[in-house]
Symmetry: C2
Amino acid sequence: MMQLLLISNSTMPGEAYLDYPKHEIKKFLGDSVKRALFIPYAAVTFSFDEYEQKVGERFSELGFEIKGIHRYDDPVKAVREAEAIVVGGGNTWQLVRMMHEQNLMPEIKKRVEEGVPYIGWSAGSNVACPYLKTTNDMPIVDPLGFDCCGMIPFQINPHYLDANPEGHGGETREQRIEEFLEANKEIFVAGLREGTMFKLADGKLSLIGSRSCRIFKHGEVPVELTEKDDLTFLMK
Amino acid sequence: MMQLLLISNSTMPGEAYLDYPKHEIKKFLGDSVKRALFIPYAAVTFSFDEYEQKVGERFSELGFEIKGIHRYDDPVKAVREAEAIVVGGGNTWQLVRMMHEQNLMPEIKKRVEEGVPYIGWSAGSNVACPYLKTTNDMPIVDPLGFDCCGMIPFQINPHYLDANPEGHGGETREQRIEEFLEANKEIFVAGLREGTMFKLADGKLSLIGSRSCRIFKHGEVPVELTEKDDLTFLMK
């Protein structure tokens, strides 16, 4: 049974890196996992080693070891042997490009369907979706295709944001999602606000965090759902 | 000699549509142009007809007629016969996709190099660049390639924005552009703030508007340039 922890963002302004989701990460991985495979490919302006170290420090506090996939000669084999898979945020376009180049998407999906726990934040939550298409990131490279892992059948928009900065005339996030829905009528989009995450466990999808998520579908009025709601309908 | 008017955004908050750039549009097109070809393909949540009408109303005030390319049986022929070309904002991804499908990019470039005036705003400024890669829009469709017209050799980031809304932890625009530069080291990026535009005329590139633009290049400290500066170095 699939186990997913899909986190909006690593860090709340003014807090330490990966601080707010750390207790959920610990609960989610539980006692059976010792070492997780870390995919650092979304790092653009800093190295994969630096990224591995930064995430490793937080995970080691929680009692888990992290090893970056960039250290393996055979990344597909690394996925096949992973006890847990962790995909960090950064630039979604570079992440997707490297995952396509190394053919990781179908392997990750297969492992996760077999029950291997998957944790992603920001870009790492985005690649769990069917498509890259609801990222907020700048398309700095050709992703070599817009398909992603598709472990969930809906799209997440991480870092979901209600308003523009004052005096800014560009599209709001809601307007951008409405454009997505116009071109992609059959699919739900979940605006996942900072400080919140989705958890799939025991076949049930729920929201964790004090802010609601905003669920969009073409032709329907967006709805706000909270920790108290069962979100499992999004998995159908 | 190429003539370009590349506008950051159509509308300032609280103002009428295409109001702030209208005098520059009138001066730019001058007396020789009567009718301009309008490319409305960036419209997603409203129709091409509605878009043509909205832009047509403003242009007719200025003494110009607009005709949407979607009314022509042969869009390439429409470009070949245009007196001026106007490309409106909206979703850059859909715009680029449709321009690729209809093979308009090389035809527009050719016409503009022959001296046909080109006006774009937002997505319409983006497609004058070498690549789609510095858009802010959500990638709602596969663009069928990241190349754009390449009438200028640098990238514009329209609606350039200095800060995030308060309390938001996502990347700033500057951080996103730094990621672009890491993956695209040889190219300048111009952050074009709302209410401003670039004009290329008589072989000279200048900024119009009271706010400065921010020029980025890999390994260099970003600089702020104003109306008083000669920006022609960006064309080399």
